[in-house]
Amino acid sequence: MAQVIYDHVTKRFDGVIAVNDLTLEVKDGEFLVLVGPSGCGKTTALRCLAGLEEVSSGDIIIGDRVVTHIPPKDRDIAMVFQNYALYPHMTVYENMAFGLKLRKMPKQEIDRRVKEVAEMLGIQDLLNRKPRQLSGGQRQRVALGRAIVREPQVFLMDEPLSNLDAKLRVQTRGELIKLQRRLGVTTIYVTHDQVEAMTMGHRIAVMNQGVLQQLDTPENLYDHPANLFVATFIGSPAMNIFPARVVTGEGAVRLVAGDVTLESPAEQRGRLAEYANREVLVGIRPEDLIVQPGQVGEDRHLRLPVEIVEPLGSETLVHLRGPVGTLIAKADPHVHFSPGELASVRVKIEHLHAFDPQTELALF
């Protein structure tokens, strides 16, 4: 078990920068999720840590050892690949024992470890099968078992659940969380799925275009995104974003978008006042728009026409024609909305976000 440090790591491929000056510290025993859209450099960052890619500059530290120029076999890590990468000519047992045999471990010890891990994962009956005789879920377990049996310092996982069907994925996700908490091994997990990121990680590192955008706990990432990219990437449906002009006067600071005027959150007035008479990007999460059908509620509620209604069962997504573009709101599934009608919308002002339109950094 060990901490992992990326110290100003950059990786270039033929002039394309895949990972740009990544500095990141993963604590001992932590489950860290690297998340981002495809091509954001998360897999490259993981492969650099595994030693499968040579870094262009910077250092990687596992435990208290600088491993930047150490070959993969000597880094004491284990990796689970997206396609599992089981050795097809070996049985499940041989697959799991392979790494231990290479380390010249005594036969009895190998046997003990393989059986123990197989039992932990419920694959003890599959030990004599070849990978092609296994289902997708079973293969995934074997790949996991092969990593666990090594008892490495760090687990690396590259989208290990993305080849499973939806139901199995949710189930395995839960098991993986329990397993990691139980083994306490530092784990770095790459995914493009923000739900996986939110549910699994102690902390999440959001990457985009090779650059680390934010590193924080799931709650903080959701409630206090550092910039526009993180705000729209985390959360489903995505945060509503629209431009608004900051208007000051009469001791108040207001945000004006089209024919709608919103009061600034009290504690953010000072911050917003700096942008007086300029535009900012305003963000509001779908659940922070409280919608009711018809023209009920107080006068200060907005009246917006309903465009589309998406009942999802556990909640209903209501698309509203906002002052600037569409706004999506989450509503109680038991309340009926009809397209074309007006809905009454209350904005939870205290949950507003605002971003600088140039730097896209969060103001609050």
């Binding site: 499968l52 070959p71 990796m79 599992y84 050795y87 392979f98 790494g99 290479l102 990978p131 092609r132």
Partner: protein
Amino acid sequence: MVGSNRLSSRLVLLYLPLALFTIFLLFPFYWMLIISLKPNNLLLNMKINPLYLTQFTLDHYRYLLSNTDFPRWALNTAIVTFGATFLSLTSSILMGYALGRFRFRGGNVAGTAIFLAYLIPPTLLFIPLSQVVARFGLYNTYWALIFTYPTFLIPFASWLLMGYFRTIPRELEECAMIDGASRFQAMWRIILPLALPGVLSAGIFSFTLSWNEFLYALVFMGSGEMKTIPVGTVSDLIRADLFQWGPLMAAAMLGSVPVAIAYMFFVDQYVSGLTAGAVKG
């Protein structure tokens, strides 16, 4: 398709063409066989049907094995074939792996250059090669052929293997290397077993070509006891315009046996893919 499994349609669409094709391909072997077994007095007798045997004799085989150097030719051919095949296969595996797996400056150029080398006809290449063989003092030794056959074996075999190595998912050896294997161990224990069908294909290809090769064998190793089967058969069993058809065909029969055996043994491996189940699919 519904109905297409009926016997009559299978007969017309499948078995009849297959049968015709098989007859067409096997006829030369049949011809070789019956001539090698016919007594001399019937060989050129036009009054009887030449397509089947009326009398049968092993005289030609006996003559071939006791009155000619055929056993020695067979030994020579075997030594040269195994030597050249082993050398070519080893080099081709390493080269195919390097070309298939590593991205390095000039890699593609090297790959193309090797393939272009394959396109130079042996009938041209033997002229400079004979100089090389002579200067190294290899003339009329086994090494003359063991070292020259790879000139046409390695280009093809390494290209075949390069393609095969590329079909094996890269993650497998990456995983092996993380599991604690060096690159060579990963290649030896993971990639090579999976590439076995490709390696066997390249091996059979090399074996067949070396076994049947004529030109280099004639030029570089064509005198005295050092002849190979193809050279010996032509030089010793054809005396000016006198063709000893019986022994010639007997030699051809015996000469093609090892190749046939090689194919028979490995045909399953040759066809089957071992990579099923490696990754999702």
